[in-house]
């Protein structure tokens, strides 16, 4: 590799972590940070135990519980579900046995792994970051290379602090211009997935670039990188800039003082060089983005909120027609029906996509002074204990509670149906989470992905709603 050849952000971080290249071209990649949770780690620790292998870098590892736990007060008196309890207890036993640093349930810092990594400064620009969870792509918003791995790879990292990797292809999604009123980072990423499809990023790492992305705060950047995996890309990245450095400064695990300045010097060299080559490029005009909502059972099945349910018979090939018919049936829809006519039963504001303080504020701005519609269950689940504390200091909890929303404890909650927060069969949910797969939020549940403001709007009107109408005082 020539030192003068222009490189991408991805290439630079990859090169900086290359331990060696194996004869067949596979890279042995060094991993700076390994985040561990209860669902994808038990079999990895078991593997270490059987082979009598220790964890190589305890200071590079952090464990937390998030997927299985209840998000109401019951969590402090023990987990009801015996299997969930075993999984949490197993993690606690494993971190004790292997001396892995751990943030327990009772700690104010506990929360969703992809919220607390950045919040604690465990995730930093320029790092390689992995976790046994596909939404690890979130941390790429800091200008890091972050991706999800399976349990065998979790064990590989615990034992060796490295991974065997093939270099991915470079893809760039450029969004230029000012984001229209009522639109958020979530609408950008849903529009991108709608454009390139759920396999559009397979084999690639996506760098999000352009003036619209640069203008986003870190919460928005996390939402975008979080859903890169929904476009098939294992990692999403955004070049570190002043917004990033201001976010990182002072966080508990971030470098402090002179070390911070030294780090910023290095981080500042990371953005993609002028003229670096991308294997794939996509351009979006921010002015064309409108508030988005998913209607089907794949994150690529998104539409502007002003649209109607598509007609499966209008699709060009039979396989796609069959797929669309299945979606329309599963989602309980009628072709041609306006999306704004769809009544919701549940509203979920939370998940590693949208549970940061900025998301809480955006939802509260819509909820303030209004009431959750009759018959709708609306829940707000902050991403961490610290997000919850800050929201309460700002009085957001009171706004939500007065409007009839449930104000809950931090965790993955209704994003994935493996803790008590689940949809019942047939229930329709406006959700700020990331996946609308069949049964994702509970068997038979129907998910409509959208931004926090859109979800809050659905809560107060009782149906999918164009948030711009709320802002104009139409509801």
């Amino acid at each position: 590799m020539s030192a003068t050849k222009p490189r991408t952000l991805y290439d630079k971080i990859f090169d900086a972590h290359l331990v060696e290249t194996l004869p067949d071209g596979t890279a042995l990649l060094y991993i700076d940070r390994h985040l561990v949770h209860e669902v994808t780690s038990p079999q990895a620790f078991e593997g270490l135990r059987m082979a009598r292998r220790p964890v190589r870098r305890l200071d590079g590892t952090m464990a937390v519980v998030d997927h299985n736990i209840a998000t109401d007060a019951s969590r402090y008196t023990g987990i009801d579900d015996p299997e969930s309890r075993v999984q949490v207890e197993t993690l606690e036993r494993n971190v004790a046995e292997f001396n892995v640093p751990y943030i327990p349930l009772t700690d104010a810092r506990q929360g969703i792994v992809h919220v607390i990594g950045p919040e604690q400064g465990l995730s930093l620009p320029g790092m390689t970051i992995v976790c046994g969870d596909s939404h690890t792509s979130t941390h790429g918003a800091l200008g890091a290379l972050a991706f999800g791995i399976g349990t065998s790879e979790v064990e590989h990292v615990l034992a060796t602090q490295t991974l065997l990797q093939k270099r991915a292809k470079n893809m760039r999604v450029t969004v230029e211009g000012e984001l229209p009123a009522g639109c958020t980072a979530k609408d950008i990423v849903l529009a991108v997935i709608g454009r390139i499809g759920t396999a559009g990023g397979n084999g690639h790492v996506i760098e999000f670039a352009g003036s619209t992305i640069r203008a986003l705060d870190m919460a928005g950047r996390f939402s975008i990188c979080n859903m890169s995996i929904e476009a098939g890309a294992r990692a999403g990245m955004i070049a570190p800039d002043q917004t990033t450095f201001d976010y990182v400064r002072g966080r508990p695990y971030a470098p402090q003082g002179e070390a911070f300045d030294h780090a910023v010097e290095w981080w500042s060299t990371l953005p993609t060089d002028e003229g670096a080559a991308f294997d794939k490029e996509v351009f979006l005009d921010a002015a064309e983005i409108v508030p988005m909502v998913s209607w089907g059972t794949s994150p690529e099945d998104v539409l502007p909120i002003t649209a109607a349910v598509p007609d499966p018979e209008a699709a060009s090939d039979e396989a796609r027609r069959a797929q669309l018919r299945r979606m329309v049936e599963y989602m309980g829809l009628t072709p041609g029906q306006k999306l704004t006519d769809l009544k919701v039963d549940v509203v979920f504001i939370g998940s590693c996509t949208n549970s940061r303080i900025e998301d809480m504020r955006a939802a509260a701005a819509i909820a303030r002074g209004k009431r959750v519609a009759e018959g709708v269950r609306a829940m707000v689940v902050p991403g961490s204990g610290l997000v919850k504390q800050q929201a309460e200091q700002e009085g957001l909890d009171a706004v939500f509670k007065e409007a009839g929303f449930e104000w809950r404890e931090a965790g993955c909650s209704m994003c994935l149906g493996m803790n008590p927060d689940k949809l019942k069969p047939g229930q329709r949910c406006a959700s700020t989470s990331n996946r609308n797969f069949e049964g994702r939020q509970g068997p038979g549940g129907r998910t409509h992905l959208c931004s926090p403001a859109m979800a809050a709007a659905a809560a107060v009107t009782g149906r999918l709603t164009d948030v711009r109408e709320i802002a104009q005082g139409k509801h």
Partner: protein, 203 residues
């Protein structure tokens, strides 16, 4: 991990694109701390009715596909979450090979780590193999990793591409952690260099 050399068995057709890992194994079944026993939950939402009875329309509830060792599907198989429970559930059911036009990256990786061979073949070929598979008992398909060919019931051989390192590990049933551990001195060297340049990464 069991080695994968050559497999002859019944193939189940699953003509669906974007088969996500929540479909392969819903999250409520991820609460195990073992790698085994997940076969009964494979495709649970498609395979069982709400009352827990079998859905007779789903392919894996039909003869001879209850004994399928190969699964043939459409594009982007295994998209979604990183759960290795997806290949564990396939394996526990008895599936050792999935054939599809393409796979989501994490699932693709996870399969190799568990002795499951994902084979990429063009959509038209997958459709042809699916037609073969619909002949049931009379349509045994062979996947020969050594020779890198899929053999149709009529004897026609279809070559496929595979990464040489992954082929080697799979043919020999090798655990890559042991191999990487042998590189410990190189990893030590990397750490020493990184610690000098970026001390804040070490505590």
């Amino acid at each position: 991990m069991d080695a994968f050399t050559k497999l002859t068995g019944i193939a189940a057709p699953l003509p669906m694109a974007n088969v996500d890992t929540d479909k392969i194994i819903p999250a409520r079944f991820l609460k195990t701390i073992a790698r085994t026993g997940l076969g009964k939950s494979l495709f649970a939402n498609l395979r069982y009715n709400e009352d827990g009875s079998e859905n007779p329309d789903f392919v894996l509830n039909q003869e001879p596909y209850r004994r399928a060792e190969v699964l043939i599907a459409h594009e982007n198989f295994g998209c979604g979450s990183s759960r290795e429970h997806a290949p564990w559930a396939l394996l526990d059911f008895g599936i050792r090979c999935v054939i599809a036009p393409d796979f989501a990256d994490i699932f693709h990786n996870n399969s190799f780590k568990n002795g499951i061979l994902p084979v990429r073949l063009p959509r038209a070929v997958c459709d042809q193999l699916m037609e073969d598979a619909r002949m049931g008992e009379n349509a045994r398909i062979t996947i020969d990793l050594e020779r890198q060919v899929v053999v149709r019931p009529n004897g026609e051989e279809i070559p496929f591409e595979i990464d040489p390192l992954r082929r080697h590990l799979l043919l020999n049933g090798l655990d890559d952690i042991g191999q990487t551990m042998q590189r410990a001195p190189v990893i030590d060297g990397f750490e020493a260099k990184q610690r000098a340049a970026q001390p804040w990464l070490y505590r």
